[in-house]
């Protein structure tokens, strides 16, 4: 059921108990976790934090801990499947689920006792009504119980005929109801999408209790920016949420706008910026940033020689000398940096890039440290997905979690370096895929498969980095192809996961249009295709559109998918 008053029904229940937090492995979940941790530390709530990266880990961890805890909080996992069925908990365990995955499974919505959803009900959910899906089975038995009351034999015959007629009517109604139910559920569960960021939901809870701080606000901003960077929400929703956060930012940071009573330089300051869309540009050189941001790289078509020339023209148009542009941004001439944003926006308009600037936030503390929200998102994402094999996935989770605190700036800078490597590798892989025409049209969708020998292919084994690569590849492909039909097709991407086990990760991306609603139908499609061909798949990730598949079953799986979607 949906929790209406977060404070009374969630926080005050949990405050006197020990809880277990299951946190999924994405940046939004990390931010929500940090906010919740800060609140719990304030109120001395004893908790245990367990990172999980897939359904199997969730189940094992639940089995290990279920005797010790009665209250479980799941962050960014668990809303889109039947939790009670998968976890089989005891009667007195309660789950609080704060998840952005939609659609929320109907069992989770209508269970009144054990599952509480920390989701706002006006979050465009469109849950089907109770009566359309569930029906008490007792009604049928009552009817059949009334049958054997027959007294006289002469009346019995007519009554028998009536009963037969009634039963056929009921059966037909039952069949119609079931068919309608199947349709409703199919429509409801067909498309996957994402709702409001969990970090923002947690920040809202903190604000309701008047325990919100600037740090928590920054984490909420990062959670929202992560959703935007990974294309999980529409542009409209992003702008609306930015507006909501902007009010909080001005509430916490208005002291800096007054010239006379400013705070010391060491205090954290968050400010709203209408800044350039270039990834990591303040920590890199401007040229590198222009080459490795998907927005500019795809529109300039930087994989071709012609594209490189256009980039040079663009820089020349703004009057920026090449030597300046290729050195670190912080060492560029101050006179050039002053009007940089407006200059770039103007020139970008001439070259067909209308949305060069976006609404975002930045944080400063001290003289040296200034970060944009997207910088931190890229850094944390790279820390979490880094392929270094030192220890298990949870080590990386812990590193990424640490990098979000202000006292661990060295980890954040390390993350920024990893992010630069990741972005460069992404662009190089995209360039090679497009130049060698690896993106093929299979009919209802485009298909691209990374070979094992590709350089840096291990960087793309985790779903978040693979998703970034696939989306950027699709965007670049849309600009490189002349076939109008191909521009509207979705993409299925395959990358090798583990050489020893011979598995590949397969991921489906919805088509790229300007006003797309980011709804992804590949989750159900993959399930059906796997069933029909009995391929060996593992639907381990919380996002149902990412699966693991045995390499040998790849071709029959694809054939089944083609026939399913055409």
């Amino acid at each position: 059921m949906f929790v209406s008053d977060f404070r009374k029904e969630f926080y005050e229940v949990v405050q006197s108990q020990r809880v277990l937090l299951f946190v999924a492995s994405d940046v939004d979940a990390l931010c929500a976790c940090k906010i919740l941790q800060a609140l719990f530390q304030c109120d001395h709530v004893q908790y245990t934090l367990v990172p999980v990266s897939g359904w199997q880990e969730l189940e094992t961890a639940f089995l290990e801990h279920k005797e010790q805890f009665r209250y479980f909080i799941l962050i960014n996992c668990g809303a889109n499947v039947d939790l009670l069925d998968i976890l089989q908990p005891d009667e007195d365990t309660t789950f609080f689920v704060c998840d952005t995955h939609r659609p929320v499974n109907v069992v989770n919505v209508y269970n009144d006792t054990q599952i509480k959803l920390l989701i706002k009900q006006d979050d465009d959910l469109e849950v089907p009504a109770y009566d359309d899906i569930f029906r008490d089975e007792e009604e049928d038995e009552e009817h059949s119980g009334n049958d054997s009351d027959g007294s006289e034999p002469s009346e019995k015959r007519t009554r028998l005929e009536e009963e037969v007629v009634e039963q056929t009517m009921r059966r037909r109604q039952q069949r119609e109801w079931e068919a309608r139910r199947r349709d409703i559920l199919f429509d409801y569960e067909q498309y996957e999408y994402h709702g409001t960021s969990s970090a923002m939901v947690m920040f809202d809870l903190a604000w309701m209790m008047s325990k919100d701080l600037n740090d928590m606000l920054w984490w909420a901003i990062i959670g929202l920016t992560d959703q935007w960077v990974q294309d999980k929400i529409t542009q409209m929703k992003y702008v609306t949420d930015v507006g909501v956060l902007q009010r909080h930012v001005s509430r916490h940071n208005h002291r800096n706008e007054d010239e006379e009573n400013t705070l010391s330089v060491d205090c954290t300051r968050i400010s709203f910026e209408y800044d350039l869309r270039l990834a990591l540009y303040q920590h890199w050189s401007l040229h590198d940033s222009l080459c490795n941001t998907s927005y500019t790289a795809s529109r300039f078509k930087l994989w071709s020689v012609h594209g490189q020339k256009r980039l040079q023209e663009f820089l020349a148009d703004m009057g920026l000398p090449l030597k300046q542009v290729k050195q670190k941004f912080q060492s560029m001439d101050v006179s050039l940096k002053e009007n940089l944003r407006e200059m770039i926006e103007e020139s970008a308009n001439k070259f067909g890039m209308k949305d060069m600037r976006m609404q975002t936030f930045s944080i400063h503390f001290g003289f040296k440290h200034k970060f944009l929200a997207s910088d931190v998102v890229f850094a944390t994402m790279s820390l979490m997905d880094s392929p270094e094999k030192d220890g298990s996935g949870t080590d990386h989770f812990i590193q990424a979690l640490d990098s979000l605190s202000r006292s661990n700036l060295d980890k954040l800078y390390h993350g920024l370096e990893l992010a630069k490597k990741q972005l460069r590798a992404t662009q190089q892989t995209i360039a090679s895929c497009l130049c060698t025409n690896l993106v093929i049209s299979q009919g209802p969708f485009l298909y691209c498969s990374l070979m094992e020998g590709t350089p840096d292919v291990m960087l793309f084994s985790k779903p978040a980095s693979l998703s970034l690569l696939s989306r950027h590849l699709l965007k670049s492909f849309v600009f490189s192809t002349k076939n109008r039909r191909c521009k509207l097709l979705p993409l299925v991407m395959a990358a090798p996961l583990s050489v020893e086990q011979g598995t590949v990760t397969v991921m489906g991306i919805p088509p790229e249009t300007d006003s797309s609603d980011r709804k992804n139908f590949f989750g159900r499609a993959f399930e059906k295709a796997a069933e029909s061909t009995s391929s060996r798949t593992l639907h381990n990730h919380f996002d149902l559109s990412v699966i693991e598949l045995k390499a040998e079953d790849r071709s029959k799986f694809l054939d089944a998918l083609v026939s399913l979607l055409s």
């Binding site: 941790q37 530390q41 709530v45 245990t48 290990e64 010790q68 298990s392 812990i398 006292s407």
Partner: protein
């Protein structure tokens, strides 16, 4: 040392009986080396004693069996005596109940601390009877006094945010 001592003894006897005074420097030399060896062994034993004393502060009153294996029976005896005198001292402080001075080696800043588990430890019992499973890389928010022992042993790591 025994070998040196015996050699010295035989030389002394010889010097006394046979009147060979040229053996006297050898005797003196061996005696000096005997004294030095004795000093070294005593220093070693004293250092062991100091370490055993530190073990009481690190591990509490019950030592793990792997450590007890390496200690001689006299050292165990000494350890028990030390434990007793420390306990008597602690009881004599702080009014009726006594004060456990092996806790809170540094002034505590808060009642509960955030800890991260560095190795798999297993179940750990908390005050209200329930237990927490300490697995590698899980983070917990627990009362300070329960965690101190484990932090000192290196199983948990205190996280400052």
């Amino acid at each position: 040392m025994k070998a040196l001592y015996e050699q010295n003894q035989s030389d002394v006897n010889e010097a006394k009986s046979a009147g060979r005074s040229d053996l006297i420097p050898t005797i003196k030399f061996r005696h000096c080396s005997l004294l030095r060896n004795r000093r070294c062994t005593i220093a070693y034993l004293y250092d062991r004693l100091l370490r055993i004393r530190a073990l009481r502060w690190e591990y509490g009153s019950v030592l793990p069996s792997s450590l007890r294996f390496h200690m001689s029976s006299e050292e165990m005896e000494w350890f028990n005596q030390y434990k007793k005198s420390l306990a008597t001292y602690m009881r004599s402080l702080g009014g009726e109940e006594g004060l456990d001075i092996t806790q809170d080696m540094k002034p505590p800043k808060s009642l509960y601390i955030e800890v991260r588990c560095l190795k798999d430890y297993g179940e750990f019992e908390v005050d209200d009877g329930t237990s927490v499973l300490l697995k590698k890389n899980s983070q917990h928010f627990l009362p300070r006094w329960k965690c101190e022992q484990l932090i000192r042993q290196g199983v948990l790591e205190h996280i400052l945010s």
